[in-house]
């Protein structure tokens, strides 16, 4: 039994210091306060002065409270029994189930040897065209969802969780609002996915330091399952809260801040977590999707900015839609050449035209007269938004590609698009008179209305 220290020297923010010898860096300790027990972790050693960050916060800690070092770093149980269970940011059950103490594993293990990784080649189909067609999700990918408060990012996350082809889901909530936590729980329960899920939930009302552990817990457990051959999807929401917790600790520790108060190692800290996404050679995989809310919708804010440099692309969720500009899946090239041969052409061609539409739309709102080319673009843009971008569209990749050609043929002559001639020959739909080219699909009414709108505008302008 290790010695109990009962003299706390200082309490600053969530960091306390005690005098103790023989303590190891990142070792765990238990602090007994009048409010109960809390875990704490060593974050600095200066001779025999030990600084600890207290997971449950320092409120109510007395200078004569007991601190006992546990001689081991942070650990988390790992077993099949965790499936369907909900834990806190300290790794203890949050549901009313029994606590799990068997088979404890260390969190924040060593990095994967790049030589043991394999090139990801498996696409994860989600039946969301903006993902499947334009920015395919790939096994082992790490992708943030850049968004702002108020956007339906958690809804998107839950939908991907339910529709994606994976073996199990680990959800990490950091500073999650309680109702959002309940939303996830209900959504996965209704979708029948709860029994293949594990939750580590830190809610907005929990002490901030506890949130720091959540990504590590999720990824440590996920990694073990992946090594057993499982394809694991890790969902984290919201990593901006994680970065803010890091900032708080860094400032408490009087570190020199680098950018807007965030510590200089923000990039490394985020990378350490995101890089756990992996496709193991002859074992399973971890795929990570992480919500990152952008304060002030500013992508150059340090958190989204650093994240973007780490992750393999990003989804922008804006106005309830995944934006085609800026959204990017860096791994899509690995998978979209063996789906269908027109996949890449549709992906690039439609976006290029949509970019032109955006320019025209800008001109239109400024009151310029629309040329016949502009009118074509306007029609195209509206069709694209309603039949591809709308989040409620749920169709397979192949259907989405077919729809793409139909939209193009409905708006343009084939040579106005910059597609390769051989593809045009094979895929360009043959027009017959009086036939609605775009299939009725999910929202026929949108198609009709928008088209008329477009012509009305033209009349007004001319």
């Amino acid at each position: 039994m290790r010695k109990v220290h009962s003299k706390i020297l200082s309490i600053v923010g969530n960091v306390i210091t005690v005098k103790a010898a023989g303590v190891a860096y990142e070792e765990l300790a238990e602090v007994k306060t009048s409010r109960g027990k809390s875990l704490a972790q060593v974050i600095k050693i200066e001779d025999d002065i030990i600084s600890l960050q207290v997971f449950s916060g320092s409120r109510g800690i007395s200078t004569n409270d007991e601190v006992q070092f546990l001689s081991h770093p942070m650990k988390v149980p790992f077993s099949e029994n965790m499936l369907g269970r909900i834990f806190t940011g300290s790794g203890v059950p949050r549901d009313n189930g029994p606590s799990l103490n068997e088979n404890l594993i260390e969190i924040t293990g060593p990095a994967v040897n790049p030589a043991k990784r394999i090139i990801p080649r498996r696409m994860i189909r989600t039946n969301i065209p903006m993902i499947d067609v334009f920015n395919s999700l790939v096994v082992s990918q790490k992708l943030p969802i850049f968004s702002t408060s108020g956007e339906p990012y958690n809804e998107l996350l839950a939908r991907i969780a339910l529709q994606a082809e994976v073996d199990m889901i680990i959800l990490g909530g950091i500073g999650l609002k309680y109702d959002q936590y309940m939303f996830f729980k209900n959504a996965l329960e209704e979708g029948g996915a709860l029994n293949r899920s594990i939750f580590f939930i830190h809610t907005a009302s929990d002490p901030i330091v506890e949130g720091l552990m959540v990504p590590d817990l999720c990824l440590a457990v996920g990694e073990k399952f992946a090594l057993q051959g499982k394809d694991v999807l890790v969902l984290l929401t919201d990593m901006t809260n994680f970065a803010d917790a890091l900032k708080e600790i860094a400032i408490t520790m009087e570190q020199v801040p680098s950018n807007r108060g965030y510590p200089g190692d923000l990039y490394s800290q985020l990378a350490k977590r995101y890089e756990k996404a992996v496709d193991f050679d002859s074992a399973g995989s971890i795929t990570t999707l992480a919500v990152t809310t952008m304060p002030g919708d500013d992508v150059t804010h340090p958190v989204p900015d650093n994240t973007g440099y780490i992750t393999e692309g990003q989804f922008y969720l804006k106005g309830g839609r995944i934006e085609p500009f800026g959204s990017l899946s860096r791994l899509k090239q690995q998978v979209n050449d063996n789906t269908r041969k027109d996949h890449r052409a549709i992906m690039d061609g439609m976006i290029q035209l949509y970019a032109e539409y955006k320019e025209t739309e800008e001109k239109r709102t400024m009151g310029f007269r629309m040329s016949s080319w502009d009118k074509k673009l306007l029609k195209y843009g509206n069709l694209f938004e309603s039949h591809m971008m709308d989040l409620s569209v749920k169709i397979s990749l192949e259907d989405a590609l077919d729809n793409g050609w139909k939209i193009l043929a409905d708006c343009f002559e084939s040579q106005e698009t910059s597609f390769r001639t051989d593809l045009i020959k094979e895929f360009w739909p043959k027009k017959t008179n009086n036939e609605e080219v775009v299939s009725a699909g999910d929202k026929p009414e949108v198609y009709g209305v928008k088209d008329e709108d477009c012509e009305d505008d033209d009349k007004k302008l001319s």
Binding site: Y25, Q255, D265, D305, K363, F368
Partner: protein
């Protein structure tokens, strides 16, 4: 000899403070004894009897009072035959070997030999074994065959005297630690030489006669670079760009197709996935010049973002040192560092822990000089034995928020010879490469006549002006002449500046083809078209664009290539 040791006083993140007795060297390597593990660390500051050291591994579990053993050596790499085709971490541990020994993860405290000590190499002497033969650092004693190269076995660069050659081994098979020569210095002391020696990575290798001005172009087979913003052998260039603009894809293409002897890829603090792609693909890809695997001319230094931060700093220097080593053999070497911003951030982290007064954006005040030092390791040199070798350095920069007005980009721009600035707008519009033709520059010379380049650039500038104007006055307010200039600039951009990086043919364009196609593109730019209506002009240019895009996909010199060309000629004749 007694080991010099110290005791740990303070631990915070990957920095430790160590109390020591006796003497200590700046940048000396020490080992933290943590249980059974020995963790490598480097001295970065000495003050008041305390050595500040950065640990190259995770510091979990280290205790105050733990011992640090000093090695007496600066952070060094092993230089000798067998480097090519290797995949190292920032400290020159071979990663495949680590995987073989330790499985999926990178264990702490493992240091492996960088080179295979058991492998035998066929050595052929080239100096005459003659008494009184004078010899100095960098002079080749003989060579071994490493892949397609003659790997010179040279007098180690750290021997600064003039020596007399006493003995050189006869032709035969030797292990790298076998003695292959004996030399005697002025005081009569004899040294035995083998095929391998150490060199401290932070010190540039200077065993050459003279550094000259880079003149010869380095062909990357990327049209916008070779034609408009060229690089020279022995020069340096940088690619700053926001995330998602295609820095890494550009680097990967360059590493594949660049016409140099050896490519060293320093993946510094970037995604592991990208390295894996190189790692797994290169052995299968054929080097177009030699017909052998691309891996045989490549060395990968890989310190991805999840690997310890301190080793990131080491990885770029390791890359530069290996590059200089092969340059010393008269070869053309290209070092690609991706990304130098991660390296700068590593410096910032260390500086913060040392509680130095922060400069701009909390980067240390010496950021600029470090970056300058690094890029200045590039160069075209005349060696001590008459041959010429070059090291070209290309670094990517990842500026925060994609804003080039930040310290790392600005410090880099001051010292490089070419700037390939990537633009978010071009990337969003799926234009690849997203090098901005209006912002970028190069101080090196293109293989195409400078006047033509100037005129072509002029069209891009004017086209952009017209485009801006059209946004204000609309298409109807633009004269047809201006509109045609706009179309021409769009045409040049689409069919020549942009390239499909994933197409077999279009991803690499030889100089010969570039010259030919540019001639044709230029004739379009130079042509007086008489269009009566804008709609007509637009339609014609779109058709022409289509013809050229299809032409780009045809194999150089093939029948289809010629057929497509005559189609273009016919189309042009009609105007």
């Amino acid at each position: 000899m007694s080991k010099r040791c110290g005791n740990i006083k303070l631990i915070q993140g990957n920095m430790i403070c160590v109390g020591f007795d006796g003497d200590i060297i700046q940048n000396e390597v020490g080992y933290v004894v943590c249980g059974k593990e020995r963790l490598m660390a480097e001295v970065i500051k000495i003050s008041g009897g305390i050595a500040y050291m950065q640990v190259f591994e995770d510091t979990k579990g280290i205790k105050a009072g733990d011992t640090v053993e000093f090695s007496g050596k600066m952070l060094s790499v092993e230089l000798g035959p067998g480097l090519l085709g290797q995949v190292y971490d920032g400290l020159q541990n071979p990663l495949p070997k680590l995987a073989e020994d330790h499985g999926f993860f990178l264990p702490r405290g493992i240091q492996l030999n960088a080179l295979d000590y058991e492998k035998e190499w066929h050595f052929k002497p080239i100096v005459e074994d003659k008494k009184n033969k004078k010899i100095s650092k960098g002079i080749p004693l003989g060579y071994v065959r490493e892949g397609i190269f003659k790997h010179y076995i040279m007098v180690p660069f750290n021997l600064n005297d003039e020596y007399e050659l006493e003995f050189v081994a006869p032709e035969g098979d030797y292990k790298i630690k076998d003695t292959i020569a004996r030399i005697k210095d002025g005081k009569g002391q004899v040294k035995e030489l083998n095929m391998v020696f150490d060199w401290p990575i932070k010190i540039p290798i200077d065993a050459y006669a003279e550094k000259s001005i880079p003149k010869e172009p380095l062909t990357t087979k990327i049209r916008i670079i070779d034609t408009f913003f060229p690089i020279s052998k022995g020069g340096s260039y940088c690619i700053p760009g926001p995330f998602g603009a295609g820095k890494t894809v550009l680097q990967q293409l360059t590493s594949r197709y660049a016409e140099v002897d050896i490519v060293i890829i320093a993946a510094c603090g970037e995604r592991a996935g990208e390295v894996v792609e190189t790692l797994r693909e290169f052995p299968k890809l054929e080097d177009p010049r030699t017909g052998k695997s691309l891996m045989e001319r490549t060395v990968i230094i890989c310190n991805t973002s999840s690997m310890p931060v301190a080793a990131r700093d080491a990885s770029v220097y390791t890359g530069a040192t290996l590059g200089e080593y092969y340059r010393q053999m008269g070869l053309d070497v290209l070092l690609l560092a991706d990304s130098t911003s991660r390296w700068a951030q590593a410096m910032r982290e260390v500086s913060g822990r040392l509680e130095e007064i922060p400069g701009e954006e909390a980067y240390p005040a010496y950021l600029e000089s470090r970056i300058a030092e690094f890029y200045e390791r590039s160069g075209l040199v005349e060696l001590n034995f008459g041959e010429k070798g070059s090291l070209t350095i290309g670094g990517t920069v990842s500026p925060a928020g994609g804003n080039f007005d930040e310290p790392v980009t600005q410090s880099t721009l001051k010292v490089v010879g070419a700037f390939h600035g990537l633009s978010r707008d071009r990337a969003n519009a799926r234009k690849f490469p997203s090098i901005d033709p209006l912002d970028s520059w190069s101080r090196y010379f293109s293989f195409i006549n400078a006047d033509l380049i100037k005129k072509a650039k002029n069209i891009l500038v004017k086209g952009d002006e017209v485009d801006q104007m059209m946004k204000v006055v609309g298409e109807e307010g633009t004269s047809i002449e201006d509109f045609v200039i706009y179309l021409k600039s769009e045409f040049l951009d689409t069919v020549y500046l942009q390239q499909n990086g994933y197409d077999k043919v279009d991803s690499a364009t030889s100089l010969e083809r570039q010259e030919y196609v540019f001639g044709k593109v230029y004739s379009v730019l130079n042509k007086n078209f008489n269009f009566d209506k804008k709609g007509h002009a637009r339609k014609s240019f779109y058709e022409l664009r289509q013809l050229f895009i299809d032409w780009n996909y045809k194999k150089w010199g093939s029948e289809e290539f010629k057929g497509q060309e005559s189609g273009i000629d016919k189309f042009l004749e009609a105007y």
